[in-house]
Symmetry: D2
Subunit: 135 residues, 4 copies
């Protein structure tokens, strides 16, 4: 399995603007945190949809690289998300990804997104990644 520190370093170099950090890496799973800032907020005091989507996408990517090794050319092929509760403006976001399939050419996973410290998810995403053949 991929070394968590190596994956953290890779994510930091590949996404220099990102405010996502890897909290933990497990079997077919990864947990990330996104540090919420003013730039993520929408009027009404909530976190924007695209901020949640970006965290879910990185969480899927991290969990997949955790399984298959650091293969920078894996790409998202489909992504869907349901928004369920208003995220808190004053909390960071946590994304917990669990992969449901890691095949030769396709990986599928789900991500539950939380305002840190809350028990009910603010959103739930499912994404599929294409894995490059030559690895």
């Amino acid at each position: 399995m991929t070394d968590p520190q190596q994956l953290s370093d890779f994510l930091a170099s590949e996404f220099p603007q990102s405010r996502c950090t890897l909290l933990s890496l497990g079997p077919r799973s990864a947990t990330l945190k996104h540090a919420v800032t003013e730039a993520d907020l929408r009027p009404g005091g909530t976190v924007s949809g695209p901020t949640l989507m970006a965290l879910a996408d990185v969480a899927l990517y991290a969990a997949i690289l955790g399984e298959i090794g650091i293969v920078p050319l894996a790409v998202t092929t489909s992504f869907s998300i349901n928004f369920m509760r208003k995220p808190r403006a004053d909390r960071d976001l946590i994304g917990e990804c669990q992969l449901m399939k890691v095949g030769r050419s396709l990986a599928v996973g789900e991500v539950s997104l939380y305002s840190e410290g809350e028990s009910e998810p603010v959103a739930h995403a499912v994404g599929t990644y294409a894995i490059p053949p030559q690895r």
Copy 2:
């Protein structure tokens, strides 16, 4: 129908960090452009998935506000996207939204995303927005 200039001003004030501009507003439709910069790029010379998602989300929002007036509390409830072709790193992105339903409480629309000047879409999104009851 909503005045395009008013909507442009509203989007600029509500999303000050956004690099999306409204190109046109029509019946149940809106076209937006996102100015691609270094921050949007991924290794391999392509535009990141979350950049495409953010443009699609704003295009849906713009088309809905074009129909129902400037109601800042409309929120995304679900969003799905399929990535079909690699976007060009050296082109801006165009998002063309067409609404399929504008009901009292829910609006549904689709967005085709293009690298500017190309004829085949790089991605296609469908989103639903909840419309606040008291308007």
Copy 3:
């Protein structure tokens, strides 16, 4: 909470052609079985996609009625599914639904679908239901 036997009877009367039976009902959850027959099979010896979709849809409906009581007018508003493994032609299908939100007007849940006796899901669905206001 809804009585499981009442819910079984209701599902049998509302879906007389269905071969789905309720196995169990829990807090925000329901498990159903679909008896696979010739009519569900596709060439190549697998179960058809629409058969899986129908089971997932009924599992969501059952879990929601388990929470809110037997409200026949709840309707699906969106549904998405990822197919991950080939279902076995010689096994029944199991659908395990877990609700992620049961709000006043909207419920959201996920369903994992299995060939009976297998540990890895053949498909995973997420659906949203609109709940009628006057209950």
Copy 4:
């Protein structure tokens, strides 16, 4: 391009229980009709969600086979649908599929579903199909 009569015959033999017929086949597109019967109806006088999903799935399959030839092993990998209006119980359903991508290994298309004779769609689906490599 695939011959429409051959495709009709193939669909009839592969889906003997189906009540879908191919109305027309065009470039990257197909239109199908589903004959609505009692078995498709839900209490409240509407057509069931799974009936709509099954028509959309077959419409995607038909449009893809129209492009790539009759390759029986193409399989759905993901499918999403939004339900927008109540279908009429006394009308057949029409599914109009337009493909957005037909690649070597993946095809992506959208389907608008109508109650026959109505101008506004009752539902809209997007699906992806994996195309077998050896053809």
